[in-house]
Amino acid sequence: MSSRQLLIRDLLVLLAFAGWALALPAYASDFVTAMALTCLMYVALSSSWGLFCGSTRYLSLATSAFFGVGAYTTALLLADLGWVQTIALGAGLAMLVALVMGAAVLHLRGTYFAVLTFGMTELIMHAVTYFEKKVTGTVGRVLTVVPDNHVIYLTVLALAVLAVVVSIVVRRTRFGLALMGIGADEQRAQTLGVNTRLVKIAGFALTAGFAGAVGAAMAVRWTYIDPHTVFNPFIGFQTVLITLIGGVMTLWGPLLAAIIFSVLAESLRLQFPQIYLMSLGLLLILSVLYLPGGLASLRWETFKAWWYDTRDWAKDLKREITGQKERDKQRLKRREKESYFV
């Protein structure tokens, strides 16, 4: 398929998805809509996370920090500004934090970067707690003026669609190529003239913007927010898990995985709540070991390859058990020895 056709296919799928999500509140119950809301939230978070962290392979655990920054923006300013302005400001502030964070830490790679972003999230949480305590004398914030549920749903839907659109578009631009180049081999990209520092910071800020906007939108659902709730590292962990299992380099992987996990979470929650989290962990391990490309990279070839692999492994085991392997080895050794005399 040509690039143009792919683009059209992607946009059509997105349109269909958006249309279905838009119509959902009309015919489904409040509960299903609320579930869809969480699902859309993770679609937005994981698509934007995958965009930067997938291509460049810089695993960022700072999603919770940006989410929290957005949430606090809403808590502090929603009463004074309008809804759209607050969301935009939440995104903006999160991007600012990302710019500062990125400038300081993006020169470190791999595990250092992951651990550092985690540390920064905790640092921000403790800093906000301390500041709130000492300066304003309170710890949490109560949101008294909240918009209608429908408005929240539409906002998060718009953010999710925007995140996927941005993913689609960025992959086609030089910026997207630069990101992937950094992921493939950073030094080579630098020698080829890519300003890696700028590209990385821009990508990081993009991720942060979405996380901040989503945080700003979701905060109103909880009425009372405090640092522990909105800076909860689990939000970041779940985003990372979903994106990794879905396929960190792919476009539709995060979306697929977000949907699957929302449904899984809800159905398991009613019967076996810990099993949901256990299965999340197990799935992650299995997918990293056997399916590094994620769910979205599943093709017929993958299944065939697994089948062949298993069959070969079973054959090998049988050979070992019956002693055939040993006999073959000995025969080979003897042949080698004999060949010296030729």
């Binding site: 470190l108 790679r109 595990t111 550092l116 810990q274």
Partner: protein, 296 residues
């Protein structure tokens, strides 16, 4: 502040630091040797604590007996986990960066798995038991008996590990592998047996830390994570891969925290720990106590 008060403060810092050092040593072994950043480390600590609690309340086994037992149990578990999860990664990863990233993700998954397995099995209630809580007087200063025990055992195990690393052939092999994986293999050092063994020892140490901690603190399925984070801070301070650095870094962190809590308040302590952590990672990623030989 009187001399006794200073002594008590430093000592309580050392006690906490001893635990930190023990956990950090395990994590360090795994990262330094195999470049596996096992962020599920704290969960095995928690597992060790639960096993000790179970043994104490159900079978009336003394926690002291459980210390070597949890070491053994966690070590076996570690070997099994390495075999199941990490061996395949070594085979299939194209380069070190990818291996590190994938190792991190697998550890992530393990963290969720273990935490929720325990929560499922034993519930989220707080558990605890009373063991050797009578205070012991050393001169003017006063400490709980179990805390002194914890310090003693932590130092003992750390010391044993360092001796192992320096004096035995096994230790020399490990250090050789750390310095140059290819060169060591050329010399005939077998990574296939060494890697799982060391991974197991790392987890065993965390099990011991858990057993020691269970004597003095309440245990919940979620107690592991803060210790993982602290261990990360310690090995950052001490330098990735340096045993002595982890030991000294751990003790130092404990004492710094104690002073911080005393002179400011505990809320600030958390802030300070993280600020120090990030500062060190940014400014001197190879650690405060190592020479500038390793590249970040």
């Amino acid at each position: 502040m009187s001399a006794t008060a200073w002594l008590e403060l430093i000592a309580s810092g050392l006690i906490t630091g001893g635990i930190y050092a023990l956990i950090a040593l395990g994590l360090n072994l795994q990262y330094g040797l195999m470049r596996i950043l096992n962020i599920a480390h704290g969960e095995f600590l928690m597992l060790g604590a639960y096993l000790t609690w179970l043994a104490h309340t159900q079978l009336a086994l003394s926690p002291l007996v459980m210390v070597p037992l949890s070491f053994a149990a966690m070590m076996v578990l570690g070997v099994a986990i390495h075999f199941l999860c990490f061996r395949r990664l070594t085979a299939t990863s194209p380069n070190l960066d990818v291996f590190e990233a994938r190792g991190l993700m697998v550890a992530f998954g393990l963290m969720f798995l273990v935490q929720n397995l325990v929560s499922w099995q034993w519930g989220g209630d707080l558990r605890g038991y009373d063991y050797l809580t009578e205070p012991v007087k050393l001169g003017e200063a006063q400490f709980a008996a179990n805390k002194l025990l914890v310090l003693g055992l932590a130092l003992l195990f750390s010391g044993a590990l360092i001796v192992l690393m320096r004096q035995t052939l096994l230790g020399k092999g490990v250090r050789a592998l750390m310095q140059s994986p290819v060169g060591a293999q050329l010399m005939g050092i077998d990574t296939k047996t060494l890697h799982p063994l060391i991974f197991g020892i790392g987890l065993g140490l965390s099990g011991v830390a858990g057993a020691l901690l269970s004597m003095a603190y309440t245990i919940t399925p979620y107690m592991g994570q803060p210790y993982t984070v602290t261990a990360l801070i310690v090995i950052t301070l001490g330098g990735f891969g340096s045993m002595g650095g982890a030991l000294i870094g751990g003790l130092m962190l404990g004492v710094i925290e104690a002073f911080g809590m005393h002179f400011t308040n505990p809320s600030l302590k958390a802030l300070l720990s993280y600020a120090v952590f990030i500062a060190v990672l940014i400014l001197r990623p190879e650690g405060l106590l190592t020479r500038k030989t390793r590249k970040a």
